[in-house]
């Protein structure tokens, strides 16, 4: 089948899989970014939670396909099974960068904020988080690229995404779905990366302007 024929027959499927992939990404990223920052702040503020850090480091080294495979006996296949690798791989980079971002805030700034009578919550929202923003965004960028990749992989347990096309291509040794699926998911990852780099630069310029 020529590429043109393939496209005219499967065009609708390609469009719907792309939309599905993007939607899944947006939901997973929003949840991971929020949870990552909240958990990062919690670990930074509450010293007892630091015991979690070695667990975080170990989970970080576990490959996504292993997380995916290990979750199946408990959560089954499909969306629920995909949750564990998506959350783990999405949250961890944000969490780690939130902690190191908050740690990098200059002590003078914190002292000044406390000196002018800011409460701990004000200190967090008006001083610490804004100055840690570039580092947090860098973590979000890693998380976003990771998520596009993990979503592609979840096709293996039945989550419809651009990965579905790639697996079809591998199973049938057909380069049409292979190239379309791989190309579009790669394009999505590059696009997401560029958007995040843009946001990071913007944040850097804002915090960089502070004395």
């Amino acid at each position: 089948m020529s590429f043109h024929q393939y496209f005219s027959i499967f065009g609708d499927q390609i469009v719907s899989l792309t939309i599905q992939h993007v939607l899944l990404f947006l939901i997973a990223f929003a949840v991971a970014a929020l949870l990552g920052v909240v958990m990062g702040v919690a670990i930074y503020r509450i010293h007892a939670l630091r015991i979690l850090l070695p667990v975080v480091n170990i989970l970080q080294t576990v490959p996504e396909i292993v997380l995916l495979a290990l979750a199946i006996p408990f959560l089954g296949i499909g969306y629920t099974g995909a949750l564990v690798p998506l959350l783990v791989k999405g949250i961890l980079p944000v969490l780690q960068n939130t902690i190191s971002g908050l740690q990098s805030v200059r002590p003078e700034m914190k002292e000044a904020a406390t000196g002018i009578g800011m409460s701990r919550a004000q200190l967090l929202f008006r001083v610490e988080l804004p100055s840690a923003l570039p580092i947090i965004l860098a973590g979000m960028r890693i998380s976003a690229i990771m998520l596009v990749s993990v979503i592609t992989l979840t096709a293996y347990i039945g989550v419809e995404s651009l990965g579905t096309l790639i697996l079809q291509g591998i199973a049938r040794m057909d380069s049409n779905p292979l190239i379309v699926g791989s190309g579009l998911s790669a394009l999505l990852a590059v696009l997401v990366n560029q958007i995040m780099i843009y946001l990071e630069r913007k944040a850097l310029r804002r915090t960089g302007a502070r004395p």
Partner: protein
């Protein structure tokens, strides 16, 4: 557990295959990556090109990368090693570059003052002083490669992915575990071992660095 005990020899063979895929890829990545990183520090023109294109490769989803190998390189060991090598390049190149760029200018000036040529400066000052950063990059590459290597199974190169994917499709947790446990162990051992090595080197280079600075 029974599965693992009964098939221990097979699992060992598959693990060996996995190590071959990752080991070969890492060798290539180091052999190509370090010179690319050095070139990036020497040429203002090539620097954005090298770092940019390698970062671009790294963003490609893993499944897409292995999928794209098939139309160009077919199935088996060769495309699998190419794919894992491509992913391992970024940490090696990036950290070679960062390591050399961050060598204190005083050390470089002192070396020039001693009459060293630029090759001598590279081999005897810049590379030794950036060894810690560089090995941090290699550690990341190793941990990544062990994980990404599991996907090699999808394009017929074997490795521990064989067990993981078979375990998923036959819904047999013991087969999944037989593939997953060695992968996790390898990743953790590599991470831990190379971290220790980095610390030991940092201690040595810390002294050497102080000598140069004096």
């Amino acid at each position: 557990m029974d599965y693992i005990v009964a098939n221990f020899d097979r699992i060992l063979g598959i693990t060996q295959r996995h190590l071959e895929i990752c080991g070969l890829s890492l060798l290539f990545a180091i052999a190509i990556g370090i010179p690319l990183g050095i070139i990036a520090t020497r040429s203002r023109l090539l620097q954005p090109l090298i770092l940019g294109s390698i970062a671009l490769i790294y963003t490609v989803p893993t499944l897409a990368m292995f999928g794209l190998m098939i139309p160009f390189f077919g199935l088996g060991m060769v495309p699998a090693v190419i794919a894992v090598t491509l992913y391992s390049l970024l940490p090696v190149v990036q950290n070679t570059y960062t390591g050399i760029i961050n060598v204190p200018p005083a050390a470089r000036e002192a070396a020039t003052g001693l009459g060293m040529s630029s090759t001598q400066i590279l081999l005897r000052v810049e590379l030794p002083l950036s060894l810690v950063v560089l090995s941090g990059g290699i550690r990341l590459a190793v941990v990544n490669a062990v994980g990404i290597g599991t996907l090699a199974s999808l394009i017929g190169a074997g490795g521990l992915g064989d067990l993981i994917f078979r375990g998923i499709s036959t819904v047999s947790p013991s087969v999944v575990l037989a593939g997953s446990i060695p992968v996790i162990l390898m990743a953790l051992t590599a991470d831990f071992g190379l971290k220790l090595l980095e610390k030991a080197m940092a201690r040595r280079i810390g002294l050497a660095g102080a000598e140069v600075a004096h």
